[in-house]
């Protein structure tokens, strides 16, 4: 099955356009045509053309940016759909499917009837489709791309004889070279001597030819469906009590967790959709701090979300889906305090439903000697605790934005010899302090490999001389002096 205009068909299904329509993709800094509809093709445009040229040709051109990743998803959806014809379906390139229909054609009333059925359904879905059916994968590809039809096994050579050599899935270079040699059709190529061809173009060309002719086997690689983690429950009568909804959720969780256990996976994000009788729906999203698949534990975490739902006239449909799934291998139960760690994960999840999972954080060390950049706060649910908190010098227990110190104008705050010692008397936060003992200085220079102007505006003032100042009033403060613009600041407080 070849969908010659898969990308445009996908977009036009959602919003039909009667005018020439193209999808553009930026390649090598130029917008190029990625895919175009029949109307645009009739106007003389072709794939790979520059978008600016195309607009000059065709002023009323409608265009959209191409989304190749969505096209790939659409192709995957088509692949799943195509399993209605046979169980062996694989993807072929970016816009094709390959089906091994051996033994399943009679279910649709023969090959012709099956292809008709495919064509009808594709047409109804608004997709251009070209089909080729042959005994080999290569021949089917050639037929789909160049001459739609069915080739019986004994007529295979006859059917392929007049097709151009490009039908052998050759690259453009080989194709051109073969054209120059006068080998324009597959028939010509098959009749030519094989050894010189292999020497000239490599074994690949011969293999392709043999595959198309059926002299060399080629398999269809079907893709396994990814496991689907969604379950639903339809109720004969709507329910409205929290306990009833919880019972329903419990049943759904049992089914979902059984499936997770089969695949050794654990859910990380769960979404419970409650559909009301009046077609309204309510979604409860549960983000878990760790992958888990224990129904009883997850159910308890749903309590808060379910109790907040407005049931209206009642809920008659429930759907539970695991949106994010992570592998969770079976673990050996040991006597260590694993249960307590589990309890902590539960607690993080529970708090996370209230304030957001990313707001529960832990400290992680960062390799920087700038005090306020020596650590980073990382979400606890997505990080493991890190160690290595060794500092050679005492550090304050609290850090704040540098606050300027207001001190009496003496020789130590301005002028000659400023900064050699902290001021004797200073006031900070409207409190007056007398310096009793000061330890320092410890010079910390800004990290020159970082753009301090942009990222760390506080460090624009250059190096800092840090002092641990013990005041007579008791408080132990962390002061620094900036020699390049002589001033004193308080940045932290020791225990």
């Amino acid at each position: 099955m070849w969908f010659p205009r898969l990308a445009t068909d996908r977009v036009l299904r959602a919003c039909p356009v009667e005018a020439p329509f193209v999808l553009t993709l930026k390649q090598n800094n130029t917008d190029k045509l990625y895919c175009l509809n029949t109307c645009a093709e009739r106007a003389g445009l072709h794939r790979g053309m520059r978008f600016a040229d195309a607009r000059a040709f065709c002023p009323d051109l409608v265009s959209r940016p191409a989304r190749p990743e969505q096209d790939a998803r659409f192709q995957a959806a088509l692949r799943r759909w195509a399993t209605r014809y046979c169980p062996w379906v694989g993807r072929e390139g970016e816009d094709g499917l390959v089906l091994d229909v051996t033994g399943s054609t009679h279910l649709f009333g023969g090959e012709e009837a099956m292809l008709d059925d495919m064509r009808q359904r594709a047409e109804r879905a608004g997709l251009a489709l070209r089909l080729g059916l042959a005994g080999t994968r290569g021949a089917a590809w050639a037929l789909a791309h160049f001459e739609e039809g069915i080739a019986a096994p004994d007529e295979l050579r006859q059917a392929l004889k007049d097709l151009p050599v490009a039908a052998l899935r050759l690259d453009a270079e080989t194709d051109t070279a073969l054209q120059r040699l006068g080998l324009r059709t597959i028939g010509n190529l098959a009749a030519a001597a094989r050894a010189p061809l292999a020497r000239r173009f490599g074994q690949d060309l011969i293999t392709r030819l043999d595959r198309a002719m059926g002299d060399y086997p080629e398999t269809v690689a079907p893709e396994a469906d990814p496991p689907h983690y969604g379950v639903r429950l339809t109720l004969p009568e709507p329910v409205g009590l929290v306990s009833d909804v919880m019972a329903g959720a419990s049943r759904l969780l049992d089914a979902l967790c059984a499936r997770l256990r089969e695949n050794e996976a654990g859910a990380r994000i769960l979404c419970l959709t409650l559909r009301r009788v009046d077609q309204g729906s309510h979604q409860i999203e549960l983000r878990l701090a760790a992958a888990m698949r224990d129904p009883a534990r997850i159910l308890r975490l749903f309590e808060r979300g379910i109790s907040e739902v407005d049931a209206g006239f009642g809920i008659d449909r429930m759907r539970l889906e695991a949106i994010l799934v992570e592998p969770l291998p079976v673990e050996q139960i040991s006597i260590t305090a694993r249960a307590r760690a589990n309890g902590l994960d539960d607690l993080i999840t529970r708090i996370g439903t209230r304030i957001g999972l990313e707001n529960i954080q832990r400290f992680l060390p960062v390799d920087s000697h700038i005090p306020e950049h020596g650590f980073v706060l990382a979400p606890a649910a997505h990080s493991a605790p890190g160690g290595g908190w060794i500092s050679s010098r005492p550090r304050p227990i609290r850090l704040f934005e540098p606050e300027p110190v207001i001190g009496p104008v003496t020789s130590s705050t301005t002028g000659e010899g400023a900064g050699t010692f902290p001021p004797e008397r200073f006031s900070w936060r409207r409190m007056v302090f007398n310096t009793a003992r000061s330890t320092g200085p410890e010079r910390i220079a800004p990290e020159w490999w970082i753009d301090n102007d942009h990222w760390r505006p506080h460090w624009r003032s250059g190096v800092r001389d840090y002092w641990r100042v013990e005041t007579r009033q008791g408080r132990r403060l962390w002061l620094f002096f900036t020699p390049q613009s002589p001033r004193w600041f308080v940045q932290g407080e020791f225990a």
Binding site: L347, N359, R362, W389, R395
Partner: protein, 189 residues
């Protein structure tokens, strides 16, 4: 549920955490509060890897988080920083949650904003130590105690005694300052 106020309240909380040799701590704050905890500064008291931080948007949320954490019982201790006074209902709820989860809760309060439901209230202030450098001499004053008497202690935390063999040693030394009678050996757990 205990309360602590005064300039050395964070140090008081860190030392209280240091009394627990196992388990994790949750430190609940409101996200707008500017003064950051410095893990490098906490390291002599308690391993920063054992501390979890929760940043709530409002005080109502941070109280709810603290209540949930206290009730859950998986943590060794919960520290909550509050900015406006707790009413009796809020304080009592925290107290009940701490009782149900068998977890110690410590509330860092601004001066004079204590709640009636707290078991004890402390005031911690640093004191200048004329004898030792790098000292952590503090004056701990118990200003409310539901089950005991009030008192004042001068204490000093000594990170040097922290070693594998002395895991269980109390690293807090009660010192008798000049002109002040020695306090009792009783320490909050």
């Amino acid at each position: 549920m205990h309360e602590v106020c005064g300039p050395a309240a964070p140090a008081f909380a860190a030392i209280a955490c240091a009394q627990h040799t196992r388990g994790q701590f949750l430190w609940v704050r409101e996200s707008w509060q500017g003064e950051a905890l410095n893990p490098a500064g906490l390291a002599p008291f308690v391993d920063p890897a054992r501390i979890l931080l929760a940043h709530a948007g409002r005080q109502a949320e941070s109280l709810a988080v603290a209540e949930e954490a206290l009730r859950h019982g998986a943590l060794a201790m919960v520290v909550i920083e509050i900015t406006r006074p707790l009413d009796l209902r809020e304080g009592r709820r925290l107290q009940l949650a701490a009782g149900a989860g068998d977890t110690v809760g410590l509330c860092i309060i601004p001066e004079g904003m204590g709640s009636n439901a707290a078991r004890t209230r402390w005031r911690a202030a640093p004191v200048f130590d004329s004898e030792r450098q790098d000292s952590t001499l503090m004056r701990w004053e118990i200003i409310k105690n539901k089950a005991g008497t009030l008192g004042t202690w001068h204490v000093r935390f000594d990170p040097k005694t922290r070693s594998e063999t002395h895991r269980e040693t109390n690293r807090l030394h009660v010192v008798s300052p000049a002109g002040n009678g020695p306090g009792s050996e009783g320490m909050p757990g």
